[in-house]
Amino acid sequence: MPFRLLKFALSKEHPEPRMFQSRDRLKSSYDAVIIGGGGHGLAAAYYLSRDYDMSNIAVIEKGYIGSGNTGRNTTIIRSNYLTPEGVKFYDESVRLWQDLSQDFDLNLFYSTRGHFTLAHTDSALRTMRWRAEVNKHFGIDSEVVSPDDIQSACPPMNLACGGHAPVLGALYHAPGSIARHDAVAWGYGRGADQRGVEIHQQTEVLGITVQSGRVTGVDTNRGHVSTPKVLCAVAGFTPRILDMVGLRSPLYIHPLQALVSEPMKPWLDPIIVSGSLHVYVSQTARGELVMGASLDPYELHSTRSTFDFAEGLAAHMLELFPFLSHVKIVRQWAGLADMTPDFAPIMGKTPIEGFYLDSGWGTWGFKATPVAGKTMAHTVACDRNHDLIQEFSLSRFKDYQLVGEKGAASVGH
């Protein structure tokens, strides 16, 4: 038993302070306002206060911290992207992830499991080689492996997939990890709070005031605050915020659903993804299988669940893992994915001075949490796009300079 746990047994009172203060009112002005108290918004606040000495900041969250996609995703972390800009960006993220538990002094259960993206067709296999080669070029541990390699990493898997779509190989990414998603928001929240950042939960932004092309303040349901800088980090709600400042974007919102099973004894070590079967799955520290599939097929700004999703995902899961027939699904849920045409995020400065975007996170936002926070903190503090996000600006669409992440649109997550 770790020594640290002794204090709980030895002290009469629970020896833990509040992680985040609750505050009665908003101040009348802040140096920056961050809209969205999810992982990204809190991470930006954390790095702003830690690295740029900016702590007169309000994080404004409509619900509670981590209530959006931070608490709704399937917690997969990887960096095996396709484009150089994507790979560099996510690689930095993985690097930050690995130290996060220690930085926070909070166990995020950051668990390196290895990540297999299965190929069922020769074209998928080709795409994986592409990704592996680009990854290796940037020093990312990523390779195409054979069915035998997959089988030995996950002996019970049925690589024949019921004869419908046999597995031909996989992209293997050893650093692929999972983490306890809620705790990420708490860790960043606590860190920011300790440095003086105000986190205002259950506070809704109603409008943003812009004067001659500059942000001047934010209207909330708890009153107006003035600020020269606003960071929008609200994922699926981005289009609504953009409406407030009169900006348009290519973002379109589709729900992304997920399922979780009853706990069972651990049998699945790696993270398994199959683009063809629309399945990704990992087993949590509690023994549950967390599963997801592809985006819902049409625009919707609601986190409702659909039964057809559960049916389809279960059917595909059983093709790969027929022995899960008796395993029960406990719960399903959904998040709102803000998709972009090239499957890369939209980050950085905008045509409105002092208004910064951290959006376009689609199905890949969780894994970017640390690096998005870090780069956006730099961007907000210096009013200059961080080097790692130069390619991700909103203006790239108008300039037909799309990022090639969609180039091989085989699989996300």
């Binding site: 770790p2 640290r4 746990l5 709980f8 629970h14 833990e16 509040r18 619900g63 981590g66 209530s67 608490g71 538990s101 220690q102 909070l106 166990n107 668990s111 390196t112 067709t121 074209s123 080709r126 080689r129 080669e133 680009v134 390779e143 195409v144 419908h164 306890r180 705790a183 708490w186 099973s261 706990p263 069972m264 004894k265 651990p266 049998w267 520290a285 509690r286 023994g287 409702r304 669940s305 039964f307 049916e311 995902l313 059917a315 899961m317 059983l318 022995f323 899960l324 027939s325 008796h326 395993v327 029960k328 699904i329 406990v330 719960r331 045409p341 037909y400 799309l402 180039g407 091989a408």
Partner: protein, 976 residues
Amino acid sequence: MNEMRLLPIPGEWIDRRQLIDFTFEGRRVTGYAGDTISSALWASGYRILGRSFKYHRPRGILSFANHDTNTLMQNGQMLNVRADVLSIRSDMALTAINSMGDVRSDRAHVLDFFSAFLPVGFYYKAFHTKKLFPFWEKVIRRMTGLGTVDPSTPHIRTAKRYDFCDVLVIGAGISGLSAALSAAQAGVDVVIVDENLHPGGSGQYQLGGEMAQAQHTANLVKSVQQHPRIRLYTETEAAGYYDDHWVPLVGRNYLSKMRAESVIVATGVYEQPAVFRNNDLPGVMLASAAQRLIYRYGVKPMNRAVVLTANSDGYRAAVDLIAQGITVVAVVDLRESYVEDQWTKKLCDRGVKIFPNHCIYEASSNPANDGVSAAIVCSLNSGNPETGFAQLISCDGILMSVGWAAAANLLYQAKTKMRFDDHVQQFVPHILPPGIFACGRVNGIFHIEQKRCDGQRAGLEAAAYLGKSDLTKIAVLPEAESPSHPFPIVAHPKGKNFVDFDEDLQLKDFYNAAQEGFDNIELLKRYTTVGMGASQGKHSNMNALRILARITNKTPEQVGTTTARPFFHPVPMSHLAGRGFTPERRTPLHSRHEALGAEFMLAGAWRRPEYYRQRGKNREDCIRLEVEAVRNGVGIIDVGTLGKLEIRGADAAEFLERVYTGRYTSMKIGTTRYALMLDETGVIVDDGVIARLSAEHFYFTTTTSGAATVYWELSRLNTMWRLDCGIVNLTGARSSINLVGSHARTVLAKLTDFELSEAAFPYLAVREMRIAGMPAIAMRVGFVGEWGYEIHVAADSALALWDALMNAGADYNIRPFGVEAQRVLRLEKGHLIVGQDTDGLTTPMEANLGWAVKLDKPFFVGQRSLQIIAKRTPKHTLVGFVLEKNFKGTPPQECHLIIDNNEIAGRVTSIAFSPTLQCYIGLAYIKPGLSEVGNSFSIRTTDGTSVMATVSKTPFYDPDNARQKKIATVRREVVV
């Protein structure tokens, strides 16, 4: 051994004539047919049925209502079996799942003594140094999880069906049955479901000793069963509520997707535990659990009971115990006083001591540590226990009857607005969505007569919603007193007063979590994991909410509930998956390919011959021989998977002008032309060949993978543009076969009278002719670069055509070839494949297809974007390349990168050894500075070695397309 079995009780669910033996933890147990695992074990004197999740404390029966998750068991390949509801069978060999060794002496029970080290969220606060986490993670993973999956479990394909009804009633208790009956009497078709083995709900066990009530319920059940408009399904769980009144019903061996016009939720309430120290000892159970044990299974819950209550239900439960000869030592009532009625009188008459304004401060464990020995009772002072005046009342069981929580999960999922009703201390529906109704206890109506009225009301309202009844107002009287106590929770300095039995959460855990800032119901849930266990908070969410309300000084309404998501009860994956339908498409020639030894590959829903196996030859040799056959003689390939479309009408040409990049209005009749399709952003999405059959009639092909989407998109565009033309999708109705090679014309000539000379049927022409007596469309197109015909016939004639061609070609050693050979052949010709040599962002300029784009047309999809793109230099372009003639090493593969000055300068999209040219050839994207013909560049292979390649002109083979236009007179005249 049935030491706890009672004498037979009318209406019981067990069949005492049928004994069933099974094993639990290796011991033989005997029960009756109809027993659940828990009832049979309890009857046999077992007390420890499972171990708790975190502290491995002994646990017995708690709710006995399908959410006793501490008693989940393993039965062979079945994991997490619910002992409280699953009927016993003689082939069961059960073990407790969360126990190290025998459940009675679980070695992991020492964790209980360390519980002080393991406060709420302890795992966030330790184990996380980067070095040590992997170790601790292993330890945690060893302790975690419930049951075990057996990898040899077969793929179970459960039948699923769609079903429909006017009104779906969920819950066949008194109110549900009444609702079903009144709706059916109004003339609508009703389906009523209940998760229990038999209908009747609490009407058959919360009796207060009055068997007449059970009889009334039975009569109601009978009326429902006999009504011709009602279908009653028991052992059927409503898994969740989905949009548009869609409710999946889960039965033992089937799943039914019920589409109702209207839904009545009569799901009742979950009884909630009181929170006091050691409230989890085996023998401490909910009063309703005890009543179900008695009236359904004839099992004595205990011999000597203390009843903790805060409502009249507890008194009735006490009377039920007494009626079965069980000693009730005391009734402890949390309320300051109680209303005297027939039940309290009955208890007083029997000499039962009633303690109003008292609480159970703690329960004492017996020496064997497998049950209760006493209840320690204190009086209350303004709700706080006066611990100085504790009395110890010895007993072997404690009943808890302190309140209820609405089983409103389905109502929440249906987006019902709920409100907290202070009078009944429960969330009740406030605004119901259209077509959704609620009745009975979930609606806050508890009194048995009122439940009947409320059911009638809901049934009539549902019928009225469907236009089948004029609404007659039915008055439902409110409850006389609250069935639920506002705070049945007693603090204790030593803790172990459990709120969530799934997750082993104690009262102090909630205070501690709130102290750490998790004082919002959703954050509290996530931090403590309350309600996240397998019972999904059915017994814990309400108490957690009350505790949080007290901590934050809010009302339960202000605290609000967490979001209720499907499923209501966990659903097996086999039920969700069903049979698993995976549509497969076959061309009409599939059986021929099989007979010829085809190795198939997936192409969407199709299976296409990748190559044909030959005895004694490996894959590469087979493919090479197929390539050579085409180059040197004649080959045949099934290309029936191509999309095949037809467009007719005055505006047909105009339509094609708008959707494809080339020019088609000027096409001569009887000719074909390459067709390239872009999206609005100028990116290549598909390609094919367009043939003009007459002035107003075109026939054209798409890629195999693009067929469906292209047809949809063209249909949409035609809907929008309203041109005078009609598109017909012939992908499945027509079959197509390519006959290619220098002997192709000779072979075809055997089967047709049609003039096949270059003059009569030139390169790139299309002709309608009869081949082997069949009407066919033949095109002189050449993806593979030889004299060839793409022949399209009606699908039902494809076999005949294939056989005829094979016969006619026999003298020329005709050889069928597969997709792989075709890829090599087209590569020799430098033709790209959309999707392989292009990606999701490739423009025609990059792909070197500028020639196929007529930018000066008035309009085509993608044109405007292309005008912008055309102004700038492409980032990379597609070029052909060759490896050294005598290259011997491991060749690069598709998607290997081109490296220039240690930077990525492009990538290979196609590469193959050309049997014809005897060297490796390929296509690659490469940045502008390197794309000159003759330029050398370096490709990095998987193992890191560099391979030099040289940019080459394409086509690699027969650059003047002579072979497609002229019959090769001499074989092997190929110039390299």
